[in-house]
């Protein structure tokens, strides 16, 4: 639930873009716009959250491949080695299982580690550590060992990285109790949610997106955090609710613009955290629109859409005017070919078709 203390999200479109000649496009310092706002990109917002929290809390350490000397494979940790030194920003060997286990042990003994996966696809190598240790340790130790661990990195399809490196893992990690799954779509949300993640004691899967790292937004200079389990209305509308997370929020907004031209006003709800899921916000929106389309980069079977559709059936059955539609990554290994990748992902043209179906319009 939003309350008075939660700052309103800033507009998605900044008044101007960063100038790569004179202004940083990475690092943790945004461009001060002089009105209490700063302009920065998604990667800068994440870096800024890390920087601010590491200043606050000396137990925060960063581990991962290339996070220190190389400033991160996607430059998300740029400047942090210089600011905090090699004891707190640690390059690891290419051993996800090893350094994730190391981080879990560190979390058990008083540190607050941040693990960077170069890609969430590589988290599968550390799957046993994440599922069997990180998500269970607090429970199995009778509360003696909480695991204040943040695992972060890019999630979902990059441009043409093919079958093994295009997975979206929201649904997989949401399946297991004991993990918090955060999947932000904007710099503002990413910063506020990452700061929350670094101030609580549960293992968090923080899912970024390579294709959004350069997305720029004006956000407050002043400190803020965003609580878990609170959705954000990215667009208001009366005709159809679109629930979308991460990169799909932007595709949903694109589809909504197109649909508005034919008179269909979509409401775009961004849960921001997939677990806990703000189903109340979704139900509130569906009570208004009576229709729902869920858009995600996960697969269809057992995906976020399956969960949202089931909960809407349980909680808002009498409010539905059409079956809930799901737009997901199609159930095939991601093709390398750009045109096939385009058809596999839940891109705007597929969202538009689904909304028309939900509104009983011809496709």
């Amino acid at each position: 639930m939003l309350d008075a203390s939660t700052p309103l999200a800033p507009p998605l479109k900044p008044r101007r873009a960063l100038d790569p000649k004179s202004e940083p496009i990475n690092g943790y310092r945004g461009v001060d716009l002089g009105d209490g706002r700063q302009l920065l990109s998604m990667r800068m917002a994440i870096c800024q959250a890390l920087y601010e929290e590491m200043q606050r809390d000396p137990t925060i350490v960063i581990l991962g491949e290339e996070v220190a000397e190389y400033n991160g494979a996607y430059k998300v940790t740029k400047g942090l080695l210089d600011a905090f030194g090699p004891e707190r920003v640690i390059d690891t060997p290419i051993t996800e299982s090893g350094f994730t286990g190391l981080a879990i042990g560190a979390a058990m003994t008083g540190l607050r580690p941040v693990v960077e996966f170069m890609s969430w696809n590589f988290s599968f190598v550390a799957f046993d550590q994440i599922i069997s240790n990180a998500s269970k340790m607090c429970y199995m130790s009778g509360g003696a060992f909480p695991i204040p661990l943040v695992m972060r990195g890019p999630n979902g399809a990059g441009p043409r990285v093919s079958s093994q490196h295009s997975h979206a893992v929201e649904a997989i990690y949401s399946h297991f109790p004991g993990l918090i799954v955060v999947s932000p779509s904007t710099p503002y949300d990413a910063k506020g949610l990452l700061k929350t993640a670094l101030r609580q004691n549960n293992p968090v899967c923080f899912l970024e997106n390579e294709m959004l790292y350069s997305f720029e937004q004006e956000i407050p200079l002043a400190e803020y955090t965003i609580p878990f389990g609170v959705a954000d209305l990215k667009r208001e509308g009366r005709d159809c609710t679109i629930v979308a997370v991460n990169r799909c929020v932007h595709w949903a907004l694109e589809a909504a613009e197109e649909l508005a031209r034919e008179g269909i006003e979509c409401e775009v709800v961004d849960p921001r955290t997939v677990k806990p899921l703000d189903i109340e916000a979704i139900v509130r929106s569906v009570r208004k629109t009576n229709r729902c389309v869920v858009v995600e980069e996960c697969y269809r079977t057992g995906g976020i859409g399956a969960e949202v559709a089931a909960q809407l059936m349980e909680l808002a059955f009498d409010d539905l005017d059409a079956p809930v539609q799901r737009v997901t990554t199609t159930e095939n290994p991601m093709p390398y070919a750009a045109n096939l990748e385009h058809e596999t992902l839940p891109k705007p043209h597929r969202i538009i078709a689904a909304v028309r179906r939900a509104c009983y319009r011809s496709p």
Partner: protein
């Protein structure tokens, strides 16, 4: 644990009942099996036993209130839980049940005129017949009357909106897939008023004939639960079963004499009806085609003559059963009938005492009627109507002399038995009653 105890169906035909009295009050602790209340079903007053143990917290049905089966009647808790929410939910559910039942009593819409009957489906679209595995399958049962292909298709929110405005769904055109009614269709119907129900043709109001005098001298009396069951079952019997009636006249002089002897000399309280039930039982053993039930597909004939005896009640009747009447003496039969009548009049018959007879005897002799025919008590195939014994002239050895006659009329189900069967049965019955010593053997 919160237990919501629902009003039980205590007989197969029961859809509602009157809660006569609670035997527990809030605060009492009850054990499973303990009697909670007395309930008047459509047939009798029955004790309702608690299915759960716990503390009685709330009684949701008032004494003498008519309640629908499955309404929440009482709430028990095991741990003293907060029941405010459960009570609110139960009251809402009970109201829904009551209003659903009221809605179901609306008369069905008139059938469409024959001209608008759907044309036969084209051959290509006809479903394939099911493979016939039996080489000599029995002929198919007569098909049920054609139903509409399917009900109205409507989305949940559209249904809710239509219900809130009491719209007639059959008059809303659905624009969704396969004619599904969606929200905009209902909104359109609301805007143009096209689906408003025609002013109710006073469905439940009395017909014009029954205009009541305003001074209260005329009265409209709603059916009691028992009256409603009688109405339903007997209407069904008369509409469904091809009745025919056969009458026989019995010379009852010997029967009357026997009864006098038994009561005067033996100090018994034998009635003519007891003797007739005994005679009917023996005649049924000789003619088992009448000691039967029929389901429209087959006839089931019974070895035992379990004779239902119609008992008049202040507003209705009930037919408790003398089981194995063929194996009981006149005296046993008489005692049993008197006990059953007493229980029936007190409303204390148990279902097992009035369900499952194989033949019925209905006797209006006490009212002095000359003759009558009765409606079959389904699924039985025959019923014997017994009139009064009257002083009438009879012909004996070519002479008209004063005598005593008794007219017996059997109504039978022509699907199951024929006139000759009934005639043969009545012949045996007459011989037994005219030679009543046989009834004492």
């Amino acid at each position: 644990m919160i237990h919501e105890l629902t009003f039980p169906a205590l007989s197969p035909t029961m859809s509602e009942g009157t809660l006569v009295a609670w035997r527990v009050k809030p605060g009492d602790s009850v054990k499973a099996g303990q009697v909670l209340a007395e309930i008047q079903t459509d047939k009798a007053i029955v004790e309702w036993e608690s299915p759960e143990s716990g503390t009685v917290r709330e009684l949701l049905i008032a004494p003498n209130q008519v309640a629908k089966v499955n309404s929440v009647a009482a709430i028990l808790t095991t741990q003293g839980e907060d029941i405010a929410e459960a009570v609110a939910r139960a009251r809402a559910a009970n109201e829904r049940l009551a209003s659903a039942a009221a809605a179901a009593q609306q008369p069905p819409a008139a059938p469409p005129p024959a001209a608008s009957a759907p044309p036969p489906a084209p051959l290509a679209a006809a479903p394939k017949p099911a493979p016939n595995f039996a080489a000599s399958a029995p002929p198919a049962a007569p098909s049920a009357p054609a139903k509409p292909a399917r009900g109205v298709r409507i989305t949940p929110v559209a249904a809710r909106l239509a219900a809130a405005h009491d719209l007639d769904l059959t008059r809303i055109r659905g624009t969704g897939p396969d004619g599904r009614i969606v929200r905009v269709d209902v909104e359109r119907a609301l805007a143009d008023g096209s689906a408003r129900r025609a002013a109710a043709p006073a469905a439940s109001a009395p017909p014009k004939l029954a205009v009541l005098r305003p001074d209260g001298a005329d009265q409209r009396v709603p059916f009691t639960p028992m009256r409603a069951v009688i109405a339903q079952r007997l209407a069904q019997s008369k509409q469904l079963i091809p009745h025919f009636a056969v009458e026989q006249i019995v010379d009852a002089a010997a029967l009357v004499a026997l009864r006098e002897q038994l009561n005067r000399l033996e100090g018994l309280r034998v009635t003519i009806n007891d003797l007739i039930v005994r005679a009917a039982a023996l005649a049924l053993r000789a003619h088992p085609r009448l000691n039967a039930t029929c389901d429209g597909q087959s006839v089931t004939r019974y070895d035992s003559a379990d004779i239902a005896v119609a008992v008049a009640l202040p507003d209705g009747l009930i037919t408790p059963i003398v089981f194995k009447a063929h194996a009981k003496s006149v005296r046993q039969i008489g005692e049993e009938i008197r006990q059953l009548v007493k229980k029936a009049q007190e409303g204390r018959l148990q279902p097992a005492e009035f369900q499952g007879g194989t033949f019925t005897v209905s006797n209006l002799g006490a009212s002095g009627v000359a003759s009558f025919s009765a409606i079959i008590n389904p699924p039985q195939v025959a019923i014997l109507a017994v009139a009064a014994i009257r002083d009438e002239p009879v012909v004996r050895q070519g002479q008209v002399v004063p005598g005593k006659t008794l007219r017996l009329t059997v109504s039978a189900d022509h699907r199951a038995v024929d006139g000759a069967d009934v005639a043969a049965f009545l012949q045996t019955l007459r011989e037994l009653l005219e030679n009543p010593a046989t009834l004492l053997a």
